[in-house]
């Protein structure tokens, strides 16, 4: 049986390359049928805001990558509830069209259930 692993995404998009390179790693893994689970936490929840328009800063939108996730077998993604609340956000304010977003209150327990974590 394959070892389950989690991609923990904690970076806001665009300010640095880690959010983008993290999603690229997730897509590459999934394409090889080693599909990780995803947890958006900290500033990583900002990746999920709708109506991102980075053309003005000459970057590609990350939302295309996010919306491609179900095609690669990632149907749901976890979102840290506490991180949302800290930022004045709730699930209803996030973008739809990608994986189904599932709120998590105890991220520690979730993380501890995986064999490996890829940090982004």
């Amino acid at each position: 049986m394959a070892k389950r692993f989690l991609a923990l995404c904690r970076q806001a998009p665009y300010g640095n390359a880690l959010a983008r390179e993290g999603l690229e790693a997730v897509l590459a893994a999934s394409a090889l049928e080693q599909v990780p689970d995803l947890l958006f936490c900290g500033d990583g929840v900002f990746q999920l805001l709708p109506e991102q328009s980075p053309a003005g800063i000459e970057q590609k939108s990350l939302q295309r990558n996010l919306q491609a996730l179900p095609v690669f077998g990632i149907e749901t993604a976890y979102v840290c509830e506490r991180s949302l609340a800290q930022r004045g956000l709730d699930l209803g304010m996030l973008a739809s069209g990608g994986p189904e977003l599932r709120p998590v209150s105890d991220t520690g327990k979730l993380i501890a259930g995986y064999h490996s974590v890829l940090n982004f």
Binding site: Y14, G15, D43, S53, Q59, L89
Partner: protein, 93 residues
């Protein structure tokens, strides 16, 4: 007086808090890059300091609304702000 440029998210870095602690009467604050995430918190309604500017392209890139208390600016106005203020202090870590 100083122009303070903050480019990191206030939710993951203390750059904005450190900047506000070094803010003087007459200074101005400009949010760029991930610094614009300050608009998604309490600052958006009642900024701790004034005036507060933000680069419109950086806020739009991230899907953020720009509240009335913050002035959205373009690159030309950014340059103008830098001519109007001195020194220019960057809070990038």
């Amino acid at each position: 007086m100083s122009l303070h440029i903050v480019s990191k998210s206030p939710f993951s870095s203390t750059a904005l808090a450190d900047c506000l602690a070094a803010f003087s009467e007459g200074d101005a604050l400009l949010l760029i890059e991930d610094g614009v995430y300050a608009l998604s918190g309490r600052m958006s309604e009642s900024p701790a300091v004034r005036p507060v500017y933000c680069l419109e392209s950086d806020a739009r890139a991230r899907g953020l609304e720009i509240p009335g208390a913050v002035e959205a600016i373009d690159d030309a106005r950014w340059v103008a702000l830098c001519t109007e203020h001195n020194p220019i202090v960057s809070w990038f870590k």
